[in-house]
């Protein structure tokens, strides 16, 4: 166990190099380069804003763009990690067949790339935040925000330990993930406030492990508090469980990748 952790530690340099490799290749082979990282969140934002603020008026008690972005920004990180991470092993087939190093590097590289995108997309959020400066409660509670984000990244990584490993054997998991990601956004409180969910369904609704995290982000930003209720704690536990169990599962399947890929 100690040996494994030490090996993973030395693999950090490799994760770093692979992340750089992915980022450079993307920016050199496209015309707009880095601008894409901004265009995607902006276009999502525009469409959601048009639908939910102009066509269907949702009352959030906040400027809708601010409300939306506070959930959409971390959610897009989550979606990106899960969607792209699922492909990470298959994509690197040629390397996996030829050279041995810890296969964990590939999903972790995706996490690195997505975190970079997330930071760039943060510029949009920053701009919106500056405009609606007075809606945010500036308190020490804001320090919990990175913690919730960390939980979210851990959960997403936990998911891709499973999906990336299984997809090597049966490609179904790729389609399943794509479908799930399209539907998941509707059963998470991204575009609408949690109050819109009927009271009697809310306990059930909050079992979605993403929902309590999104709620927590908004609580921290707009109410200046963080309520460690049952659902949030459950979500944190689920995230940690997914990560550890997923890693064990991944390591069990990893030696077989090169024979099947």
């Amino acid at each position: 166990m100690v040996k494994y952790l030490r090996e993973l530690w030395t693999a950090w340099f490799l994760v770093w190099m692979m992340t750089m490799r992915a980022l450079v290749s993307r920016s050199r082979q496209s015309v707009l380069g880095l601008a894409w990282t901004l265009l995607v969140p902006i276009s999502h934002l525009l469409v959601y804003w048009l639908v939910f603020s102009v066509l269907v008026r949702i009352q959030t008690g906040l400027p809708y763009v601010l409300f939306l972005m506070s959930g959409l920004w971390p959610w897009m990180l989550y979606v990106n990690i899960v969607a792209r991470g699922t492909h990470s092993i298959i994509e690197n087939g040629p390397i996996i067949k030829k050279i041995f190093f810890h296969r964990e590097v590939f999903p972790l590289t995706i996490v690195g790339v997505c975190l970079f995108d997330f930071l760039v997309a943060g510029l949009v959020f920053l701009a919106i935040m500056t405009v609606h400066f007075n809606h945010i409660v500036w308190s020490w509670t804001l320090l919990w925000w990175p913690f919730i984000l960390l939980i979210m990244v851990i959960q997403a990584t936990g998911v891709i330990w499973f999906t990336s490993a299984v997809s090597v054997f049966v490609r179904d998991s790729i389609f399943l993930v794509e479908l799930a990601m399209h539907l998941w956004v509707f059963v998470s409180p991204i575009m609408y406030p949690i109050e819109r969910v009927p009271e009697r369904f809310r306990d059930l609704y909050m079992l979605n492990p993403v929902a309590p995290l999104i709620v927590a982000f908004r609580q921290i930003l707009f109410e200046g508090k963080l309520d460690f209720n049952f659902h949030l704690i459950l979500s944190i536990c689920v995230s940690l469980f997914l990560f550890v169990a997923g890693l064990m599962f991944f390591r069990r399947l990893a030696p077989k990748f090169s024979d099947v890929i």
Partner: protein, 254 residues
């Protein structure tokens, strides 16, 4: 008795390949536990390596020869850790560098210099290791100013030079080589073989798979002849190569 350090110990490994991969079955097999009862017997299975054992000590240079499909690459892959045997154990004691394919992980858009760091990290070096050996790598590759160019503009020979130079200066203890010396011009090939000799004298173990009998003779002090996953000959290079030649003739005649 033998005071040399043992670097590779392979005990009774068996590896089966299948002609037709059955994804679900492979998944059940990989997960194991109760799922292994879901695995049905595969009619298309054949044995790539059959009850194979091998010991290698420092300064050994083993040549592996044999017809296509004899299990040579399967053996190298398992020594490299890329693949795992169904039965038996493989123990390696030392840093392995597999040159199964040079330049895997190179990125065409990055410069030669950047690719040295990328490839070095893929081969398991830390940034410090690469920093320490960087000058040697550059000198050995003889690429000079070309290192500033993206490698997509390299000729295949330059590509191989860069990759080999990185791989060879990664302080290896065991090197696995698969036909990679065929690239590069004669002068560079010569340089590589000399470097391999030098490493061998310094105690590095080499496993060399090749169809080029000349280079096998030059590099190796022990040769095994594989056919259908079994060892047909083991020992003196000349003898093994002669046996391989006669085996091939019989194969053609019948």
């Amino acid at each position: 008795m033998n005071e040399k350090r043992k670097l590779i110990e392979v005990r009774n490994i068996t590896k089966k390949h299948t002609l037709k991969i059955r994804p679900q079955q492979e998944l059940w097999k990989a997960i194991g536990g109760p799922f292994k009862y879901l695995v049905r017997k595969d009619p298309n299975e054949f044995t790539a390596l059959d009850n194979f054992s091998l010991d290698l000590y420092e300064s050994d240079a083993l040549g592996v020869i044999g017809p296509n499909g004899a299990g040579k690459s399967t053996l190298l892959k398992m020594l490299a850790g890329v693949s795992t045997p169904e039965e038996g154990t493989i123990k390696t004691f030392g840093r392995i560098r597999s040159l199964l394919e040079l330049g895997i992980g190179f990125h065409p858009e990055l410069s030669g210099r950047q690719n040295i760091y990328l490839y070095g990290s893929v081969l398991g070096m830390t940034r410090k290791d690469i920093d320490d050996h960087y000058d040697e790598m550059v000198e050995f590759s003889e690429l000079g100013e070309f290192l500033k160019m993206p490698v997509k503009n390299y000729s295949s020979g330059m590509y191989a030079r860069l990759a080999f130079s990185v791989a060879i200066f990664t302080a290896p203890e065991i090197i696995l080589v698969d036909e990679v010396l065929a690239v590069g011009d004669l002068q560079f090939q010569e340089k590589c073989i000399n470097k391999i000799h030098q490493l061998r004298d310094a105690g590095v173990t080499i496993v060399f798979v090749s169809h080029g009998m000349e280079s096998v003779k030059r590099v190796c002090n022990r040769v095994i002849l594989l056919d259908k996953g079994k060892i047909l000959a083991d020992g003196d290079p000349d003898q093994a190569i002669a046996e391989y030649r006669s085996l091939m003739k019989v194969g053609v005649m019948s």
